[in-house]
Point group: C2
Chain length 208, copies 2
DNA sequence: ACCTGAACACCGTTCAAGT
DNA sequence: ACCTGAACACCGTTCAAGT
């Protein structure tokens, strides 16, 4: 049932995931679903925990930077596959086992690499903020490839008075509308910049 | 009308902002609202543009780092005031004038400080990802001060088998439950780490 | 130019009744 | 243990009719 709900949300968006709708997909009336979950909120809790289980845990046996990098890339990929989940991942009042397990493993990976509790917490917070924020923008952007960007940006630019938004125009022409441009490709750049920062924060901390 | 809709969303959450509800607050039936907006989506477009107008533009006459820092802090504060807006800021297919103006000013501030188009775009993307992602977690966290954290974390910990999530437990006891702890206070730390990274990226770029 | 009643096609959820 | 019809209190939106 959670599986069916997730694939429905993936295909049609979270706004068309209704109990009646989901019942229809499962060949059952909406009210039957209440035999399996307390209410819709409860069902969302379950769905989010499945999403957490899809994200790779940080691998062991590699340095912390590689482990954090791989985990962030995996989280990014999973969230792109389930964009509706993005805003819900950290808002569960009753987090499920996969959620807890995931957070415990990431913190454990950092602590095991010699991070203090304080710096581990901060590093995790920055990394996750970046992953969630980047993916949020990426998956709600009104275009996803340079073709669509050209279309959208072109229409916008036509409506501008000349020189009204010069820097936006420059950005559109020089980057977004260039063939082969994809906003998603920029993910790694920011991730590495942040990992560099964390490396530095860690040295400062252990030297102290 | 946009004002009324915003204050309703601020108070009761976006999920209780209905046309009937908003009509009620304005002493009018729901259908009357359609004389002022095409539909609810159109109204949300307008609301988001008001939110953009509340964020300070990067100040001029200061170095880029101070300007970016102040702008990010202002955006963070505004998004905390209107948490429902967070996920909608970058998803408007038809961005309003305040939205365009804001993005143009930020890019202009960076370009004026000597950033290349490429590095300006990346810097802006990382900063905004961080602001949106951090605020998303912050405002959906099931607790906001150390008292509530103690409550929530305490309840969670009781449900664990001993040693099941050791690093989560450590984090809860050593940080979240400590008096005076507030997740929101961590915002500046990550912001400065990212600004350091951008400073370094900029030097590499101009040296090239 | 603005407002409204009636209507349509939807929601989540409860409850008593069925197998 | 699971399913369902009927019902309740809601949605967004259209449209013809009113001032």
């Amino acid at each position: 049932m959670l599986r069916a709900a997730i694939s429905l949300a993936d295909r049609d968006g979270i706004e068309s995931l209704s109990m009646r709708n989901l019942g229809g997909k499962l060949g059952v009336k909406a009210m039957s679903l209440y035999n399996h979950v307390r209410n819709k909120e409860d069902m969302l809790d379950g769905m989010i925990d499945v999403i957490f289980s899809e994200i790779d845990l940080p691998p062991s046996g590699v340095d912390w930077r590689t482990a954090m990098r791989q985990r962030a890339i995996s989280a990014h990929r999973v969230l792109l596959r389930h964009p509706w989940a993005n805003g819900l991942m950290e808002s569960r009042t009753s987090p499920g086992p996969a959620n807890l397990r995931h957070h415990d493993a990431v913190l454990g990976s950092l602590r095991g690499a010699g991070f203090s509790v304080e710096v581990a917490a901060r590093a995790y917070s920055i990394l996750d903020s970046y992953v969630y924020g980047f993916t949020l923008t990426e998956s709600t952007l009104p275009f996803s490839n340079s073709e669509e960007a050209k279309e959208v940006a072109g229409n916008l630019l036509e409506g501008f008075r000349p020189g009204e938004y010069p820097h936006l125009a420059e950005m559109a022409v020089d980057r977004a509308m260039k063939p082969g441009y994809s906003y998603g490709d920029e993910f790694d750049y920011g991730l590495d910049l942040i990992l560099d920062g964390i490396l530095r924060a860690r040295s400062d901390d252990t030297k102290r």
